[in-house]
């Protein structure tokens, strides 16, 4: 009995083949970087220059254009990491394991950026760099989860075992994701509520929303670039003794 039609099955099979993935990722990175830079350029120009000053927060609000997309990415990447980890755990697909661990450092970076930019925004607006409220604390826990995943992976020498352990840790940590998202509604916090991802109309003017969404898409592209870059390294290190890596090295040193 077949659940997946042949051409699609073949496509995934080819994609999951390490030499094919390594080469394809290498070809895609320049294109993705080009698109990313165009989006980033427009997003920064629109966010820092075109968008009007906020009537309450002045120009300090412009931190939103990196703070909110980073915070979104920190959650998005975590879910991708946990899913890839689960796929690796169930079907033992090597490439899924590599995608999971490669996502961890990118996700940790975005979480760090969200926390730091939030702090730099909080100081002039709330009068404090940090408060132990629900949103900030749960986001900090997310950072520790990412760092825990990276540390655990590095601590176990056999990378297939390490991937299993990491996937379980990542899956357990998923509990934190809805907590972060709903923290501003469940608890009284200093952090403002959602302005974009509300059920009714977003309470942000279109001239501010467009640069925000542009930056969010740009960061998505950045994530793909960064994760592919790291996955290529990870793949090479894992497959160092395989025939295709030997061939690749031989061709390059010619």
């Amino acid at each position: 009995m077949k659940f997946i039609p042949d051409p699609i099955g073949k496509f995934f099979h080819r994609m999951a083949s390490p030499p094919h993935f390594y080469a394809l990722a290498g070809q895609m990175i320049p294109w993705l970087t080009g698109i990313f830079l165009v989006l980033l350029g427009y997003g920064l120009f629109a966010g820092l220059y075109l968008a009007p000053t906020d009537y309450q927060q002045g120009d300090s609000y412009r931190i939103i254009y990196i703070h909110v997309p980073s915070a979104w990415m920190s959650l998005f990447i975590y879910i991708v990491m946990a899913l890839a980890g689960a796929i690796g755990l169930i079907w033992r697909i090597k490439l899924a394991e590599i995608m999971a661990i490669s996502s961890a450092s990118v996700g940790a970076s975005f979480t760090f950026i969200a926390l730091v930019t939030g702090s730099l925004w909080g100081k002039p607006m709330w009068g404090t760099w940090w408060v132990w409220d629900a949103r900030l604390t749960s986001e900090l826990i997310l950072l520790f989860l990412y760092l825990g995943v990276m540390g655990l992976y590095n601590a176990i020498d056999d990378k297939r075992t390490a991937s299993k352990a990491v996937a379980i840790l990542a899956l357990v940590g998923v509990v934190n994701i809805p907590i972060i998202h709903y923290s501003v509604e469940w608890w009284n916090t200093l952090h403002q509520g959602p302005t974009v991802t509300k059920m009714d109309k977003p309470s942000i003017h279109i001239s501010m929303l467009i640069p925000l969404l542009t930056m969010a898409v740009a960061f998505k592209f950045y994530y793909v670039i960064a994760v592919l870059q790291r996955a290529r390294l990870e793949l090479l290190q894992r497959e160092r003794t395989s025939a295709w890596v030997k061939k690749l090295v031989m061709e390059q040193s010619k």
Binding site: L48, Y49, T53, G58, D59, S60, R62, I63, I66, H67, S70, S105, V106, S109, F112, I113, V116, T117, L120, W121, K123, P124, Y222, I225, A226, Q229, R230, R232, L233, L236, Q237, R240, V245, K246, L248, V249, M250, Q252, S253
Partner: protein, 54 residues
């Protein structure tokens, strides 16, 4: 808007530019580090292979 007033960010220059600066540095490091590590790893593998062939 003049260049000066753009960089001044109505008094929030320190907060806005520090935030963007840190963000930029972290994102650049994140793609350059694996790239450099991979290239040096490939060189290391090439050296090993040459030694084996001798």
């Amino acid at each position: 808007m003049t260049i000066e007033s753009f960089f001044a960010m109505r008094g929030y220059a320190f907060y806005v530019w520090t935030a963007y600066g840190i963000c930029g540095v972290v994102l650049v490091i994140n793609v350059l580090m694996p790239l450099r590590q991979r290239l040096s790893f490939l060189q290391e593998l090439a050296r090993k292979q040459q030694r084996q062939q001798l």
